[in-house]
Structures are given as C-alpha cells and as structure tokens.
C-alpha cells in the first residue's frame, strides 16, 4: 500500500481551513473528493499544517495511502484535473517511505505574512494581503521580532482554542523586511501554536505604528497571558510556504 507525499498550493479564501468541518468546505474535503474521483477510494489525508480559514498555502505537504500503486506523476495530473474548479493544485507528487508522516515527520515549517502598507487598498491582491494604510516602520518591527526568537513559553501568542500539549516552542526565525509597498514577515519553527504567527504579526504591527516598543514585546512574552499581547492579524496575509523534513 504505497504512501504518497503531495505538495499543495491553495487559495484559502473560500475554505473553512485545511481540516474537515461541518460549517463549510475544507481543503481536505476537496482533496479527498478528488482522490475518490480519481481512484474510487475513500481515504483520509494528513497535512503538515492545519491552516485556518482564509489562510493560503504555497507548499502545504500531505500524505495519503492508496491501495494501488500509481505513477506519482499520474497522481498529480489526475488530481489537478479532479480538483477543478477549486483553487487547489498539487505542485508535486512523489512516493514516500511507508513511515513518512506529513505532520509528525516535519522538522521545519516556514510561513510568510504579507502586509500591504500603503494608503490605497489592494485591487489585485484582495484577500492575499493584510492592508494597513498607516506607514509601518519595518526596521523597528524586525528589531522587536528578535525578542521572540528562541525557546519560549508562547502562551501570550496562543489562541484559546489551541490544542498543543505545551505552550513552549522554539522559534527559529522571525524576520521583517520591506518589499516595495509590502512588508513581509517570515517565521520558521519546527511547529507553531494555534494563531501564533498571526498573533505575533498583530503585535509587531503595534511596534511598526510606534505604539509599542521592543521592550513592550518582551514584557508581553514574559506575561505568558494572551490578553497581554496584540490583536490577531487577519488570515488573508498568511501563507504556509514550505515544510522541511
């Protein structure tokens, strides 16, 4: 029973998130339906990141077991046919080792958060960026972000619904840079708490506006209390970029 590793790109806008839910269409449901149409099997897929409603992916990784061994390229082509018209595509497909687990084997997850920082809203990138009209100081945001890098109790940046056993995580990288009219926040870690990236971005925005200092971010982290950090940034600007194994 071969195991396939699929790398997906999707526009999260029309979905309730990766995971199957009763209140709408999920990426998982759409993918599993495409698999059913392709090979007639009812399967369960496992993803590296359970992206929330509205969150996008450039490189989500999924594993799935199929009864019959199909050429990996055939799986990709057939799924891209059956995934239409949903904004989900299989970028690559390969046969993985039987013990490969998209979620548990992941060593590093990389997210990108895009802020469109100009007066005019986005015409071409609506639902793909967080539009912030007031000018943000990207250098100050980057400096403050370094406070969060390392091994910490991230309770202050954890959603109340988070199911992780421990709030202690190691954040390997949190870079903020200006890219034309956009500000990009890049976050890398083995794993993240629920809403952690969006809560960090919402807090760094306060720094960018000059309302908070680097020290305020350190104080918020040390408080280990969600009520002490900034608001949750919207899902629109968040992308799961890459998962490394």
């Amino acid at each position: 029973m071969p195991r396939y590793k699929l790398t997906l790109e999707y526009d999260g806008t029309p979905f309730v998130g990766w995971q199957r839910q009763d209140n709408g269409v999920s990426v998982q449901e759409v993918l599993e339906e495409a698999l059913r149409r392709f090979c007639g099997e009812t399967v369960t897929t496992t993803a590296a990141g359970r992206t929330d409603a509205g969150v996008h992916a450039l490189g989500q990784v999924v594993h799935v077991d199929l009864t019959k061994e199909w050429p990996a390229v055939r799986v990709r082509e057939a799924l891209n046919y059956h995934l239409q018209p949903h904004p989900v595509v299989v970028r690559t497909s390969e046969i993985a080792a039987p013990d490969f687990n998209a979620r548990l084997s992941a060593k590093r997850r990389a997210y990108l958060y895009r802020i469109l920082n100009r007066r005019a809203p986005a015409a071409l990138d609506g639902h793909r960026v967080w539009h912030v009209a007031k000018p943000l100081d990207a250098a100050a945001m980057h400096a403050a972000a370094q406070v969060l890098v390392g091994r910490h109790d991230f309770s202050s940046f954890r959603a109340s619904l988070c199911q992780a056993k421990s709030p202690v995580k190691t954040l390997d990288r949190l870079d903020v840079s200006q890219a034309g009219e956009e500000i990009h926040v890049t976050a890398e870690a083995r794993s993240f708490l629920h809403h952690q990236v969006r809560n960090m971005v919402g807090t760094l925005k306060l720094v960018g506006e000059g309302k908070w200092t680097r020290k305020d971010v350190a104080t918020a982290l040390a408080a280990e209390d969600r009520r002490r950090s900034g608001p949750t940034a919207p899902p629109d600007g968040l992308y799961l970029v890459e998962v490394r194994y």
Copy 2:
C-alpha cells in the same frame, strides 16, 4: 476647472475592459460612477491605455476635470471609498496641468506579461497568469524577441479591430526573463497596436516551445500579415505597469 491625474490599479478579470461598452461593466464606468457619488458630477475620464477585457493594471493613468477644486488626497480617499467593492483602486491622485492628457501626453507605456510555466495550474494566481504546462526556453524567447525591437510595421501583430492610423510603431524594449516558476515578458513603447503585446507573447511562446526559431519571428514580422504570426496570448497574464510622461 482643475484637472486631476489619477493612477489606478485594477484586476481586469470582471470587466469588459477599460472602455465603456454595452455588453458589461467597464473600469471606466465604475470609476465615473465613483466620481459621481463623490462629487455629484457626471464626468468623462480619459485613460492612457484602453486595456482589453481581462487585462490588469498596476499603473493605469487617467485624467478627469472636476468643477470644484478638491485636495488631491481627498479625491483619492473618496474614490477608494466609493469604488468598493470593485477591484479598482486609486493609488495616487494629483492636480495636473490643464493641458495634461493621460492618453496623448504619454511618452512611454510599459506592460508586463506573466507566464506560469510549470505542470500544475495556478491556485493562487488564477486569471493573473497564463498557465503554460510545457517547459519554455526563456533565453531563446529573449533572443527572438530582440528581432521585434525597433521601428517596424507591426501589421503581423495587430488585431483586425485595431483603430490605429498606422501599423508602424517603435518598440523600445522586449525582454524575456525567468522569475522562479514564471516567465516575464516586459514590453515598452510610446504606444502599441491593439493586441500587439499579446500577439508578440503568443509568437514568442512558439519559440519557447522550440516550434519556432528567431528567424521565423523575423519572417513573420517582415510578412506584415497577421495570419503569419502566432496566436494571441490570453488577457489573464497582461498588466499595464506604468505610463511615463
């Protein structure tokens, strides 16, 4: 009666093009309706480029005369409010000289054409790129493109509906470059014939596939006959990037 110069960004997907037409909603109609809601005046706007249905703009330039002199910033903010929910925004607004004409004063127009060149279709950039699944040779496309640079009779790349008086145009730049999974074609000229960029891109794609050589492009140009060049590339990948005066 002050004249305003507006720079627009829009997603061309839902529109019949820039120009007002009977068969659907145009960018011009949406902009003029926003102007009417803002200041109560029924005005006619003039654009630098009459983009076709489905063609996008990052920097379309428009001029319009208003009876009352409003601060330029106020015009931008009010229009961005009234343009909602259409995917059209005013990036900048300024008061222009009375003789400024967005169309006639333009000295250089720059277009970008984006080809997504990979097996998987676009999930995030549907209607923003031309998806070409077969690998294209960007270097060969660039070399062949140089045949078209300069002052030529571009009849072979002119739509039958083109209203220009002469098919002779000077193409200042036609660059093809690889940008990750995308191939970008950048075209610059004082002005273009109708469909000229899309017809050049459709022809260069034949070169990228190895079906045509640089010499075939030269022969097509010399033929001065639309039936001798390649097919018209779809509007999805085309962006009016900048107009210089």
